[in-house]
Amino acid sequence: MLLEASEIGFRYSKNQWVLRGVSVAIRSGEVVGLIGPSGCGKTTLGRILAGYERPHEGSVALDGKALPATGYHPVQLVFQHPEKAVNPRWRMRKTLAEGGGPDEQLLAALGIQEEWLSRWPNELSGGELQRFCVARALRPQTRFLIADEMTAMLDGITQAQIWHAVLDYARKQEMGVLVVSHEKSLINRLCTRVVDLTQFC
């Protein structure tokens, strides 16, 4: 499968384009890095690919077809701040079940402990919460994963554990991954290819 964004243009205010003429393509099973200075539209591009925003110019296509507007989105985005990405009034079991039933093997790989499932979000740390957000996004229907600074606020060991699990899952399921990050070393370690947004700034 091929996720293709062509000639994307996007702006938040009238005459100020954040992105213009940006094209990115990711194949199934590929791990691509996305780098660029702050404010150059990395997150915006990720949001457009995952269907959170509609581009003002250009289009996003999966295997040549437009992405679905309703129903399960085959491109899932994991945000930087897990505490905002879970409902504070839901226990973790419910949050996890939102995308479908939890996959025991995946939970083990991500290091999610059984007792965390019955806790409230404010009783877990950021790293623990982020594991849940990753587990929620990794469903069989997910064809591409956009990791927007997914592990930027986590310690090294947690980062390594989460990325191991994600890359392992991506390899097994032939899932494509776009790694949005500031950290050059992380990108070099994980990715087969790097897209630099600096040229579009």
Partner: protein
């Protein structure tokens, strides 16, 4: 004592007072309301703390019964009003720009017309009585709460976990009922309690003006409007005690609502 304890105690006292009035109004027998011409127009005494009226009826009993009717009308009307506010607020925030513009216009319209005028019109059109008053109050008191709920829903709608839920294939209705509605309950509860005093006062005022409840019901507005005829002949207790009681009840509800707001506001949890 810290501020939180004081708030809790005043909330408790206000609640006890309101429950006491309702229980008193419901359990007091009719015999003290029967006509007794021997003691007509008696001034306050130990036997009749609020005095008696021109038919010799005990004013304390009448006041308690009247307040119970008023509180009942207030509860029903405020609940209906809050329900309207919830539905319209949710619709405005979730159904797109055209619906939002229409509902916002409606809110502005109802806020622009003085409550009492709209209330008299609606109540009069529906033929007065309990039905007219309840419908009138319910239809005029929702706009400010609807506006608060609309703003709250808009904020929740842009929350990341709500957007994620949509991308996980959940329908609008699913998201609204599971994610958004539970977050609105504190707002709704407080809005509801703060609507009571308005509802009670407006019920009393349109009954007083003669567009509300029928004179056979011992509503507080009826009692006050009757007492006007005897006020000039020096029977001050007919208006004084029921009026003061109404004020105290309204203040109690107001205190209750304000305190609930303080107690449920997480920013004030540690005061």
């Amino acid at each position: 004592m810290n501020r939180r304890q004081i708030t809790l105690i005043t909330t408790f006292c206000a609640a006890i007072l309101l429950i006491g009035v309702v229980v008193g109004g419901l359990t007091l027998g009719e015999e003290r309301l029967s006509t007794n011409l021997d003691i007509r127009n008696a001034s306050p005494s130990l036997e009749h703390p609020f005095g008696t009226d021109h038919l010799g009826r005990d004013m304390l009993t009448r006041t308690l019964k009247g307040l119970t009717v008023s509180i009942g009308v207030g509860v029903i009307a405020a609940a209906a009003s809050a329900a309207i506010a919830l539905v319209l607020g949710m619709l405005a925030a979730t159904m797109g720009k055209a619906v939002d513009a229409a509902i916002s216009w409606l809110i502005d319209l109802f806020l622009g017309v003085p409550h009492l005028v709209a209330l008299i019109l609606i109540s009069f059109t529906l033929g007065g009585g309990l039905k007219g008053v309840v419908a009138g109050i319910a239809l005029t008191h929702w706009p400010s709460l609807a506006r608060i709920i609309r703003a709250e829903v808009m904020q929740l709608r842009s929350a990341e976990y709500v957007q994620i839920s949509r991308r996980l294939g959940k329908s609008r209705w699913w998201v609204a009922s599971r994610h958004i509605l539970p977050h609105l309950f504190p707002q709704l509860l407080v809005g509801l309690v703060l609507l009571f005093p308005h509802a009670i006062l407006h019920e009393a005022s349109i009954s007083f003006l003669g567009f509300g409840l029928s004179p056979h019901q011992p509503a507080i507005g009826i009692i006050l409007s009757e007492s006007m005829r005897y006020l000039t002949s020096g029977m001050w207790w007919l208006a004084f005690f029921p009026g003061i009681s109404l004020l105290i009840i309204v203040r109690a509800f107001d205190t209750l609502g304000d305190n609930l707001r303080l107690l449920t506001d997480p920013h004030r949890a540690h005061q």
